[in-house]
Symmetry: D3
Subunit: 249 residues, 6 copies
Amino acid sequence: MADPSLLVVSAHAGDFVWRAGGAIAAAAMRGERATVVCLSYGERGESASQWLAGKSLDEIKAIRRAEAEAAAAALGSDIEFLDLGDYPLVESQEAVAKLVDVMRRVQPTVVLTHPLVDPYNGDHPAAARMALQARVLAQAIGVANSDGTYPSSDEIIGAPPVFFFEPHQPEQCDFKPNVLLDITAAFARKKAAMECLPAQKHMWEYYTDLAGRRGVQVRRNAGPNLGLPHETMGEAYMRHYPQVTSVLD
Amino acid sequence: MADPSLLVVSAHAGDFVWRAGGAIAAAAMRGERATVVCLSYGERGESASQWLAGKSLDEIKAIRRAEAEAAAAALGSDIEFLDLGDYPLVESQEAVAKLVDVMRRVQPTVVLTHPLVDPYNGDHPAAARMALQARVLAQAIGVANSDGTYPSSDEIIGAPPVFFFEPHQPEQCDFKPNVLLDITAAFARKKAAMECLPAQKHMWEYYTDLAGRRGVQVRRNAGPNLGLPHETMGEAYMRHYPQVTSVLD
Amino acid sequence: MADPSLLVVSAHAGDFVWRAGGAIAAAAMRGERATVVCLSYGERGESASQWLAGKSLDEIKAIRRAEAEAAAAALGSDIEFLDLGDYPLVESQEAVAKLVDVMRRVQPTVVLTHPLVDPYNGDHPAAARMALQARVLAQAIGVANSDGTYPSSDEIIGAPPVFFFEPHQPEQCDFKPNVLLDITAAFARKKAAMECLPAQKHMWEYYTDLAGRRGVQVRRNAGPNLGLPHETMGEAYMRHYPQVTSVLD
Amino acid sequence: MADPSLLVVSAHAGDFVWRAGGAIAAAAMRGERATVVCLSYGERGESASQWLAGKSLDEIKAIRRAEAEAAAAALGSDIEFLDLGDYPLVESQEAVAKLVDVMRRVQPTVVLTHPLVDPYNGDHPAAARMALQARVLAQAIGVANSDGTYPSSDEIIGAPPVFFFEPHQPEQCDFKPNVLLDITAAFARKKAAMECLPAQKHMWEYYTDLAGRRGVQVRRNAGPNLGLPHETMGEAYMRHYPQVTSVLD
Amino acid sequence: MADPSLLVVSAHAGDFVWRAGGAIAAAAMRGERATVVCLSYGERGESASQWLAGKSLDEIKAIRRAEAEAAAAALGSDIEFLDLGDYPLVESQEAVAKLVDVMRRVQPTVVLTHPLVDPYNGDHPAAARMALQARVLAQAIGVANSDGTYPSSDEIIGAPPVFFFEPHQPEQCDFKPNVLLDITAAFARKKAAMECLPAQKHMWEYYTDLAGRRGVQVRRNAGPNLGLPHETMGEAYMRHYPQVTSVLD
Amino acid sequence: MADPSLLVVSAHAGDFVWRAGGAIAAAAMRGERATVVCLSYGERGESASQWLAGKSLDEIKAIRRAEAEAAAAALGSDIEFLDLGDYPLVESQEAVAKLVDVMRRVQPTVVLTHPLVDPYNGDHPAAARMALQARVLAQAIGVANSDGTYPSSDEIIGAPPVFFFEPHQPEQCDFKPNVLLDITAAFARKKAAMECLPAQKHMWEYYTDLAGRRGVQVRRNAGPNLGLPHETMGEAYMRHYPQVTSVLD
């Protein structure tokens, strides 16, 4: 059994905080490795206030990077940046190859990324498609690393489960959660991470509130475990591959 | 945390063996309670050879009942029969009320039943709809038992997860499994249970082979757990409500 | 190989003409048996002009029956009426049992009926559900006829393919045709049958035109058979069970 | 053009407040007629605290009725109760006939009801199915009123659009909103109506917050109307029939 | 509130006439601005008769352009051509950037384009994907114009609603209309525009007839507005984002 | 009527054997032309054992090619290789143009390829998308061949039906078969072809068994043709365009 290793593929620098911060913090709090890969800084599409303030492209990228690093630290996660550009995030074989390298290095046992549909933001599905393609390629011993060398049997990866995290307008993205994650214990860390993104202060409350709503659903679907507290916090996910288990519960 | 208790709602006397025998045996082998409720004996729709042999309706029901009891014993499960008739299994409030009584008595922590679509056999979706309705009614303190008494707080049930087991022609039933259950250790018991149904001898091989195919998928989707043996056996399920968990894996 | 026998289950007295008249006429022109079963006369829901003219219920039923008999004769089909009432057409085990009797008598090799979704007319899906249930029950030797006798091996039916014919607003009924039937040669008979329904004269042109539109699609999808004439006429169907064939074409 | 008349078909006594209170209040504030029909009081399935407090069935029904009347008054709506029982709300032709009578009397130009899928509460889809069936039957001049008389041309209804209001766990109910209603101006009335239901105090905040979230989506999808205020409140709906319009906007 | 401005993104030179001519004419007749952008001339894939007549590629493009200009004039619309080539219309960032420029210049309040699925013509979904991507990018102040300059706050666009117009074989394109547009008053202009395309004379009748069929559906779904005339003409659309409104009707 | 000509577009060198070997052999046994086009050799993604054995890329390609040629010969089919590379199979206009050339040369009356969804292998949908695009382009007289010449009227193709063959995990690929092909007579050839792929010996039994399972479904859905033998073998397909026929059966 491989050591737990959580990999989060995030289109922009802030996405992983709002949508998967609880899962990341929970993994870190269990002592597991967590790694975030930001494909871009969200410098063009998700930094309107900084553009309005007259910042340059490079300044904006630096600001977003620093914020994301602080948030990852607050969650207890490593973070890397591929700087592929956003709006649009353009899919390419070069970008996928970089993700293959990351996966072979990180050896993820779980992968989180965006859902495949988002009519409000094309970068999100593009990130998901690249993450999914890289996950398949990284399994094959005949697929070279980006430096042209071939992987050893130890360097290829298994077939880690993939979970899509929640988009901003879930129903419009055909996001029907089939996993509700209890993040009550990890929520303080998620809150701390959100507060590392001062330009989006109105989102702090929005996502705290969302965690409460998903928490209500955690309790509603918790089966016979009636003892969950009123203040349960949750995050919603869609599992992309079937769950493998030896117990139905 | 409630004691584990598995409840299987089966339209006909044989269904639970072929489609969920592994899950039932696995629960029993873990020392958990398992209960099968057969809504009918399958006396009209799934007993063609006995009709051709000239048996009477009562004889056929007795034969099917004895076989099912033997199979349940082989799996390690309790079994009950509601004798509601088949082909068609007619939905009624009386039948649902009997299921409410069963559920309040058995206090299931997991419910298994048929999927909601089956263009080849209308009894299967009818059983599923009644099981789902009973599960919701059994949760309500204002819904009386079938004898007119009201349940106490202890007698109502929680919200146990529901899994649909595999139909005979899965794709035509819109059956897209999202849970693959490893039944390798329990398969010997499932085989013994199948052999309690001598009239359907050709099915023994068919469902052994199906377990092998689902076992291949267990291994393919097992993530980084690469060590699963070649002879892994599986059963496929569809989870009807979102999974609640505190760990993504 | 059984003799070809086409059975059409129609909710109201006129439905089979507009939606399946071409298929019926084509079968009759090949010398095959065709039988229409009208579950109701459409006396309440599809006879507004007669109600406005002050006719009584019995008068309206007689008018609709006579029209449907004339149309069936024009197509070359037998016709029967179960007089189950409409608006609503209420599903019942008695009604299904009558359909079982019809099917065992007619021994259909093909069944046509309404699609399962119609937000504009609940009688249509009700007819389809009963036809589908009867088709499954009629296959079982343990299911008695409505007079309480049991069928012989010869009296049960096989598993005839089922096709849903086109509803009035196809997209709203999730009607995605997967079979386009060339009815060019049979169209004159369909036209004659439509003209047996004088109260709905505006529909003659509407359904002639629809046949032309479906004919355009016949030609577009005809593969390499480029020689189809410009005036090709068509009807659209949805196949409910998979096609069985020994040649892909 | 008929006078505007809003009809809300609600399975239980409280549903219309939480899910459609804004739409009702907005109609009333425009001086339009609004009518709520409660099919049951929610006496068994949605009154757990009163059962735990030892109230009798009749007492609970009276409490729920009084609350609903107060809430309707706060919204500015008429209200009627059919007292059909809940958990389960059983579908019947008699119940549908009562709804036909209501519709012919109220002459709705818009109908609101529950969505057709709800795995958590079977009464909601049952209410929706009956509302939809009644709406079709009420259009037919050949369908008698429940007292056996036939309607005049003035008494039948047109084909009012139907909107499904938001269920408690929208994604699990396949609820993909295609209409976002701005209820900012009507929200104070909705709040007053919610406060007429003192036993569900925790819901006041829950649905205030939901209105805020849907308000964010109102603003996000408002096209070029950039001036909507930050505190925009919204309700989400699914339109069941296509919109008819003479302007695309 | 922005001035109404309708933008139509058409894969080939003729598409906008057949599928959206009524909407364009209606906007023009209300005195609103309408702009058509043809991504290609349809020179390879939709000009078979001209190829058979031995015309050169440049001749065909000139013919198609002249026809489209005449048709746009008949409708009362501006028209532009991006000349991106067809069969296939290849998606590229350069093409999307040109559409961003157009959108920032035209400031659309409504966008019309092809649906996202068309198994008969890949250029149509390609056009739709580019239109949707450009619409999102054009909203972002951090996305440069194609000349490298950055937009001002006035130059970015809002979030105009998007409507997909009807494809040639609607059901095969998963086209389920949720908006039916009454184009009765505008139909004479649409007819005049169709007649600007003499090489496709058989289409004139085909699309006149389609307008009649959609008109029947306009009347059927018009709710209580019973007074629509028999000769109502219509066009069908699919709204891609939720409608925002302050009145349900 | 064109001469029958079956074209199979296969992403990797082995796919056509396992998934469509029966259809190919059956066509060949009827004396019809069959042609397989392998887009790649499967050299990187489906040759793990050879990589582990230390073979070079060129050696692996040669091995896979020889195996595929032997298998095609056993089936009675021609075979060609485009050598486009795999893992990933990258879509390009150049690759599509090569397929256009093949199609114009082979004049297929039926096309088989992979389904459009496969979360386990992105090369399969990529092959399907290119095959579908090429099939549309090859119909257009204005689309040049890859050498820049234009096709004559005889060189363009019609609109051959397309069938998707079965993927490895059908339900996960949204593969709902609507055609079940009886390959009983052709199975011996398919078996011989499978045995040309010695490195995948465990697959021989797996796909023999699958043919048996699909054979059970052939018999179940065979309608009134009750005489099919117990050992019926089958292959499952999804028809992508509507079937055109002059007889419903």
